[in-house]
């Protein structure tokens, strides 16, 4: 609320405002103390978009490769190498099956960030002699945007497509942006901050017709929504292990073989992974990713039903008790396990501080260290103050209904408390239109 410590011209005087603040802070101390209650135990985990806990079934599959089977999967001359290679190839098959690909089209990497780097920079650089244009969207993950910035410094031109206020990119605008110079279109499948699903099928169709390669960052989508690289015409796709209850430090990149997509490798070395990603494969992590994909394939429908149940439970409770709550992103085209809400007149950071007993985030983990409002929320046209007041609730396979109930109850309690402290909220209650206030800086 201190962000609003500016003189409010024409509505209330500065003195009145300061006395309001003073009143809030010191009159009823217990009620407004930020550290009002100590709680016992570890906080609940509701940040599934940052990472997910590793499934015990995944750990069980990995353990033998961390203890007994330690061979280098690339060793060709002995049984230690063969047994690990067999496990790696089985994992590759499981990853491929989840997305409808051929196992030979799967490249293991260290995670989705590396996959995105290889895809975006690799394709653009390989075809740079003929084509020097790349298209992406404003709401992509930082690693795609930063790779594009690097490409710009290398002389490529990059189009950052805007999204509408629901967070969805327009096909017509994409079609207009594609030129004969364009080599790659990169659009994420599910957004990590607002959970919005892009029209991947339509984009794939358009890219195929225009003969442009299509890359999608599916780190948040894999194993959660059905994806088929054939029917969706996806040429490259990034996959992450730790977003699907697998281990951290492993990911994969799907690279289409027919028609062949050529990629310039970033890492030089022994030529593993079709020469696209040199370096010894971390066999235990690869096995973990394979197992996580296999479980995701089996459990997708079951997990999805659970996500729908949990998110509607949370939304019902919050909408039932609070007004002025805005859901960011298109609710009809989003992954139900990610609910991004803006509580008007409450600062997100204050709410996160108050909700210490629940592990939540105001946006992506990569940018949560800064107090800057999320660029994704700004791209969907959220007002500055609403972008500052957003909270992301991320559910997973292991989230319980009791946890959702607890979170909703705590959240409602703290939003009400913080609003009572806010002079803005008071003004809204009195019927003042905040947009009409002329703020002046001192």
């Amino acid at each position: 609320m201190y962000r609003y410590c500016k003189n409010i011209c024409g509505v209330i005087s500065r003195n009145q405002y300061v006395s309001n603040l003073f009143h809030c802070k010191y009159s009823t101390e217990n009620k407004f103390n930020m550290h009002e209650k100590t709680f016992e135990g570890r906080p609940l985990y509701l940040d599934a978009q940052a990472t997910t806990p590793m499934d015990p079934r995944v750990l069980d599959a990995m353990l033998p490769y961390m203890t007994a089977y330690y061979g280098n999967p690339h060793s060709r001359t002995h049984a230690y190498g063969w047994e690990t290679e067999k496990a790696v190839e089985e994992a590759r098959m499981k990853v491929a099956r989840l997305i409808g690909a051929d196992p030979k089209e799967i490249i293991f990497t260290s995670g989705a960030t590396e996959s995105n780097n290889i895809a975006v920079k690799g394709v653009a650089r390989f075809y740079s002699s003929k084509k020097k244009h790349v298209i992406t969207t404003q709401t992509e993950h930082k690693c795609v945007l930063d790779s594009c910035r690097i490409l710009e410094s290398e002389g490529f031109s990059v189009t950052y497509l805007p999204v509408n206020n629901k967070g969805i990119v327009s096909i017509e605008e994409l079609e207009r942006a594609i030129t004969p110079e364009t080599s790659l279109v990169s659009v994420m499948t599910v957004n990590n901050e607002i959970g919005v699903q892009q029209p991947i099928q339509e984009i794939g169709k358009l890219c195929k017709a225009k003969k442009v390669f299509f890359h999608t960052d599916a780190a948040q989508a894999i194993g959660k929504i059905p994806i088929d690289v054939q029917s969706m015409n996806i040429d490259l796709m990034s996959i992450s292990g730790h977003k699907i209850y697998g281990p951290k430090g492993i990911g994969a990149l799907y690279v289409r073989r027919r028609p062949r997509v050529r990629v310039e490798p970033i890492q030089s070395g022994g030529g593993q992974e079709r020469g696209l990603r040199s370096g010894t494969l971390p066999a235990p992590l690869v096995v973990g990713l394979g197992e996580a994909c296999w479980i995701a394939e089996k459990e997708m429908q079951y997990d999805h039903q659970w996500m729908v149940k949990l998110s509607s439970r949370l939304l019902d409770k919050i909408y039932g008790s609070l007004t002025h709550v805005i859901r960011n992103g298109d609710p009809n085209h989003s992954y139900p396990g990610c609910v991004n809400l803006s509580f008007a007149y409450v600062e997100g950071e204050s709410l996160l501080m108050a909700l210490k007993d629940v592990a939540l985030s105001s946006g992506s983990a990569c940018t949560s260290a800064s107090l800057e409002p999320s660029y994704v929320l700004r791209a969907i046209g959220a007002d500055e103050d609403l972008a500052h007041s957003s909270i992301r609730f991320g559910f997973g396979r292991f989230t319980t209904q009791e946890e959702v109930d607890y979170t909703a109850q705590r959240c409602i309690h703290h939003v009400k408390r913080l609003r009572e402290m806010s002079p803005l909220w008071e003004m809204v209650q009195e019927g003042v239109d905040l947009k009409s206030i002329q703020w002046s800086q001192h």
């Binding site: 709680f39 016992e40 135990g41 570890r42 906080p43 609940l44 985990y45 806990p53 015990p56 079934r57 750990l59 069980d60 353990l63 079951y302 007993d357 396979r397 292991f398 989230t399 319980t400 009791e402 946890e403 607890y406």
Partner: protein, 90 residues
């Protein structure tokens, strides 16, 4: 009672018993929910081949449960805030 029926019921019982031993709140609740829902989902299966493949999978999962309960009990953390509030679970 057929021998298959007894076997399935025993598996169900053993799996639930093992799942209750998982120290971590989230994993324990998931395991209990998943086991109950799976057996309920599959209770009307008639195909004997399918029944035996389901039994084989359940046996495999029971083994995983047993191993993971041992591992998890060596690395358990303090309880979640929610467990202090409602010590009794369904």
């Amino acid at each position: 009672m057929s021998s298959t029926r007894i076997e399935v019921l025993n598996l169900y019982k053993y799996m639930l018993k093992e799942a209750k031993k998982i120290p971590a709140y989230n994993f324990r609740n998931y395991a209990l929910r998943r086991i109950k829902d799976s057996f309920r989902e599959n209770k009307n299966i008639d195909d004997p081949d399918l029944i035996s493949s389901c039994i084989a999978e359940a046996r495999k999962n029971l083994d995983i449960l047993r191993r993971q309960v041992v591992i998890a009990s060596m690395y358990s953390t303090e309880k979640l805030v929610i467990e202090h509030i409602q010590p009794k679970e369904s």
